[in-house]
C-alpha cells in the first residue's frame, strides 16, 4: 500500500491535464470539469488516508524508516545524482492528508463558488495543478524535487492570484507575489547549492545522515538560506508584503493556497530540516524571533482593516508567525500541529468570507455589512466556530495547538519569556480582531444598501457542506494533541516523534514525568513545571477572553467609541491603518531603485553595448559581402575557370 504513494500526486496531475487540455479544447460542461477535478482530489485524499493507516499499522520506530519510493533517476551528471522519489513518513503523510483533505473540500466548495465564472475550466485546471505541485513538495524525498514543487506552487499562486487578469489589481498582485517569492526562492536555492557543495547529495536521507559532519558555521549559513526561502513562501517579515495583496484572487484560492497549504510549506520545510536547524542555535533563534515578531506585527495590522479578506490575510501571516515561533524554539511537532489546525480553521474562515461575499453581491468591506447572521445561519455558525478556534478558546482546535506553541516558547531550551509574552499579546490581538470581524460582519445593524439587502441569501449546499465539514474538523482537529497536563495523550506528537524526535521537546517529557509524582504524592514542589504550564495556559486564555470582551465593548456595545479612539490617537491610527507604510517604503527603496537600474541597463548597456555590438557585426558583414559579391560575375566561364583552378590545386596537392 505504501508503495502506491506516487498515486497521491498523480491524480491531480491527471485532473490538470484532462481539464487543461481536453476540457478547454472540447469546451466540456461545467459539471464534467468540476467532477473530474473533485474526483481527482477525492482519490488523492482516499489514498492519503489508506497510506496513513498502513503507516499506523507499522511499529512507531519503523514508521520513519519506510524506504523511499523511487520512481526513476531524474538527473545523473558526474557525481550528482537525483531521483524522482517520494518519501513516506509520519511528517509527510500528515502534510499529504492535510493538503489533499482540505483541497478536496475547497474544490467542492469552488464548484459552487465559481459556478458563473467564464474561466471555470481554467480555474480547476490551475487548482489541480496546484495540488499536484503541493503534494510533490510535501512528498518529495530530496531537496531538488521539493524545490520543483516549491516553484510549482509559486507559479500556481501567481496564476490564481491573477486569475481575473483583465483587471489591473489582480494582475499586479500576482506579479508582486511572484517577484517577492523569487527573492525567497533565491535563498532556498543557495541553501540547496550549499548542501550539495558540502555533502555532495540532495536526498533527504543522505543529507541528514551526513549532516553531523558539517561544522556549525556552515550549518548556520545553510539553515539561514533555507529560512530566507521559507520566509518568502510563508510570508514572514520582511517578505510578507505579497500575501495581503494576494487576496485579489478568487476566495477559495485565498483559502487553499494563501491560508491552508502553500504558505505553510516554509514551516514544513523547516520541520523537515529540523536536524540541520537543531545543529544551528543561531538560526533557531533567528527563526523564533522573526516568527514572534511577525505574529505580533501582522496581528497589529489586522486590527484596523475593514476588508474581510485583508483581515484574514494579516491573521494568516500572524498565525504563520506562530508556526515559525514553534519551529524556532525546537517545538517542531507543535508547529506542524498548528499548521494542521490552522489549515482547518483558516481555510474555513476564508470559505466563510467567500460565502458572505456570495450573499452580499461581492461586497468585501465589512462596514457595509452587519446583522446578516439570520439570513446566512450556516455561514455564521461555521464562521463562529472557526473564530473561536483561532482565538484559542478551550475546547476548539486552535486552543490546543496555540497553547502548545506558547508553552514551548516559554519552556523549551531555545525558548524565552519574551517570546512567550509576544506570542500571548499577539494571541490577544488575534482574539480581538477576529471577534471584531465577526461582530461587524454578522451582528449589529445592517449597513448594506437596499439593493444588496434584498439579495442576501444562504449559499447552496455544495458550498455549505464543505463549511460544515471544516467546522467539524476545526473543533475536533485539536483532540489528537491534547496536552499531557490536561490528562490527555498527545497522539499527534507521538505520531511525529519518530521523524521529528523528542529531543528538543525534552521539557514536554520533563513535564510529563512530573505529572505522575504530582498525582501520586500531591506534592507542590515537584509540580512547579506543571503549575507553570497551567498558569501560562490560563493567562493566554484570559488574554484571549479580554480581547473578545474589548471587541464586544467596542463593536457591539459602544459602537461610537472606535471612532473617538481613532481621532484621539490619529497618528498611530493612520500609521497602523496604512500598514506602517511598508509597501510605500519598499516602493521607494527597492522597487524604484530596481526600476531605475533596469532603465539604466536598458538604455546604456542593452541599447549602447549589446545592440551596438550586434549592429557593428552586421555592418561588417554587409561590407564584406559588398566586396566579395564581385566574384559572382554571372559568366559561366569564370565559374568554370574557378572549378578548373580548384581541381588543379587539389591535384597538385595529391601528387606532391
Amino acid at each position: 500500500m505504501i508503495d502506491l504513494v506516487w498515486l497521491i500526486p498523480l491524480f491531480p496531475a491527471v485532473g490538470f491535464l484532462f481539464n487543461g487540455l481536453i476540457g478547454k479544447w472540447l469546451d466540456l460542461d461545467k459539471r464534467v470539469v468540476g467532477s473530474v477535478a473533485c474526483t481527482a482530489l477525492g482519490l488523492s485524499f482516499l489514498f492519503s488516508i489508506l497510506i496513513f493507516f498502513s503507516l499506523l499499522k507499522l511499529p512507531p520506530e519503523a514508521r520513519a524508516a519506510v524506504p523511499d519510493k523511487v520512481l526513476f533517476d531524474w538527473i545523473v551528471s558526474g557525481d550528482f545524482k537525483t531521483v524522482i522519489g517520494y518519501k513516506v513518513d509520519p511528517l509527510s503523510i500528515v502534510m499529504a492528508l492535510v493538503v489533499s483533505g482540505v483541497s478536496f473540500f475547497i474544490h467542492v466548495y469552488s464548484v459552487g463558488y465559481m459556478h458563473d465564472d467564464p474561466g471555470f475550466t481554467r480555474y480547476f485546471a490551475y487548482l489541480n495543478l496546484f495540488v499536484f505541485m503541493m503534494l510533490t513538495l510535501v512528498l518529495a524525498n530530496n531537496f531538488l524535487l521539493m524545490f520543483v514543487g516549491w516553484e510549482g506552487v509559486g507559479l500556481c499562486s501567481y496564476l490564481l492570484i491573477g486569475f481575473w487578469f483583465e483587471r489591473d489589481a489582480p494582475a499586479n498582485a500576482g506579479k508582486k507575489a511572484f517577484v517577492v517569492n523569487r527573492v525567497g526562492d533565491f535563498g532556498f536555492l543557495l541553501g540547496i547549492f550549499l548542501i550539495f557543495a558540502h555533502l555532495g547529495t540532495v536526498g533527504f536521507n543522505e543529507v541528514f545522515a551526513k549532516a553531523p559532519s558539517l561544522d556549525t558555521a556552515t550549518v548556520t549559513l545553510i539553515t539561514l538560506m533555507l529560512f530566507v526561502g521559507a520566509a518568502g513562501k510563508s510570508a514572514q517579515i520582511p517578505l510578507y508584503v505579497w500575501l495581503p495583496d494576494a487576496m485579489e484572487g478568487p476566495t477559495p484560492v485565498s483559502s487553499l493556497i494563501h491560508a491552508a497549504t502553500m504558505v505553510t510549506s516554509g514551516v514544513y520545510m523547516i520541520a523537515r530540516c529540523h536536524l540541520l536547524y537543531s545543529m544551528a542555535p543561531i538560526s533557531m533563534a533567528v527563526v523564533a524571533i522573526v516568527g514572534a515578531a511577525t505574529a505580533l506585527y501582522a496581528a497589529s495590522m489586522g486590527l484596523l482593516q475593514f476588508d474581510i479578506k485583508r483581515v484574514l490575510a494579516y491573521s494568516t501571516i500572524s498565525q504563520l508567525g506562530y508556526m515559525f515561533l514553534a519551529v524556532g524554539v525546537g517545538a517542531f511537532s507543535a508547529g506542524i500541529f498548528h499548521l494542521m489546525t490552522h489549515a482547518f480553521f483558516k481555510g474555513l474562515l476564508f470559505l466563510g468570507a467567500g460565502s458572505v461575499m456570495h450573499a452580499m453581491s461581492g461586497e468585501l468591506d465589512m462596514r457595509k455589512m452587519g446583522g446578516i447572521w439570520k439570513r446566512v445561519p450556516i455561514t455564521f455558525l461555521t464562521f463562529l466556530v472557526a473564530t473561536l478556534a483561532i482565538a484559542g478558546i478551550p475546547g476548539f482546535s486552535g486552543f490546543f495547538s496555540k497553547d502548545e506553541i506558547l508553552w514551548q516558547a516559554f519552556s523549551s531550551n531555545h525558548g524565552h519569556l519574551y517570546l512567550w509574552v509576544v506570542g500571548a499579546v499577539a494571541a490577544g490581538m488575534t482574539a480581538f480582531y477576529m471577534f471584531r470581524l465577526l461582530f461587524v460582519t454578522f451582528l449589529g445593524p445592517c449597513r448594506a444598501s437596499e439593493e444588496v439587502k434584498k439579495h442576501i441569501h444562504e449559499s447552496p449546499p455544495i458550498m455549505t457542506i464543505p463549511l460544515m465539514v471544516l467546522a467539524l474538523l476545526s473543533v475536533i482537529g485539536g483532540y489528537v494533541g491534547i496536552p499531557h497536563i490536561l490528562g490527555g495523550r498527545n497522539f499527534f506528537h507521538e505520531f511525529l516523534a519518530p521523524v521529528l524526535g523528542g529531543a528538543p521537546q525534552g521539557t514536554e517529557h520533563a513535564a510529563f514525568s512530573l505529572v505522575r509524582p504530582v498525582f501520586a504524592s500531591g506534592g507542590a514542589a515537584v509540580g512547579e513545571g506543571v503549575n507553570m504550564e497551567l498558569l501560562l495556559m490560563g493567562v493566554s486564555v484570559a488574554v484571549a477572553i479580554i480581547g473578545i470582551c474589548i471587541a464586544f465593548y467596542l463593536y457591539i456595545w459602544k459602537t461610537e467609541v472606535p471612532k473617538r479612539l481613532g481621532e484621539r490617537f490619529k497618528t498611530i491610527y493612520t500609521i497602523v491603518f496604512n500598514k506602517y507604510y511598508v509597501d510605500e517604503i519598499y516602493e521607494v527603496c527597492f522597487v524604484n531603485s530596481t526600476k531605475k537600474l533596469g532603465t539604466f541597463l536598458w538604455r546604456r548597456f542593452d541599447d549602447g553595448v549589446v545592440d551596438r555590438s550586434v549592429n557593428l557585426v552586421a555592418e561588417l558583414m554587409a561590407w564584406l559581402g559588398s566586396v566579395l559579391r564581385r566574384i559572382q560575375t554571372g559568366y559561366v566561364q569564370s565559374y568554370a575557370l574557378g572549378i578548373i583552378l580548384g581541381a588543379v590545386i587539389i591535384i597538385i596537392f595529391l601528387i606532391r
Binding site: 559579391r629 559572382q632 560575375t633 554571372g634 559568366y635 566561364q637
Partner: protein, 103 residues
Amino acid sequence: MPASVTPLYFFVVSALIFAIGAAGVLIRRNAIVVFMCIEMMLSAVNLTFIAAAHYLNSLDGVLMVFFVMTVAAAEAAVGLGIFVLLFRGRKTIRVDEINLLKW
C-alpha cells in the same frame, strides 16, 4: 597492338585532348562550341579508361565508360534543349552575353 605502344601514349593523348577541351570551355564564346569542348573532355576521360582497362585486363574501366557515355547523352539532350530555349528568348547563345545570374 605492338608491344612498343605503352599506356603512356594513350595517357598523353588523352591528357592533350582533355587540356584542349578545357581550354575551349574557358575560351570559346559560342555555347555550342563550349558544349562540344565538354564532350571532348569526356571523350578524353573515356580514352583513359579504355586504355587502362586494356592494360590492366579489367572490365571496370569499360563499365565506367558506359556510364560516362550515358551521362554525356543525357547532358547533350538537356544542354541542347536549354540552348534552344535561350536562343528563343534572347536571340543569342554567346555565353559572354548571358550573365543574368550575378550580384
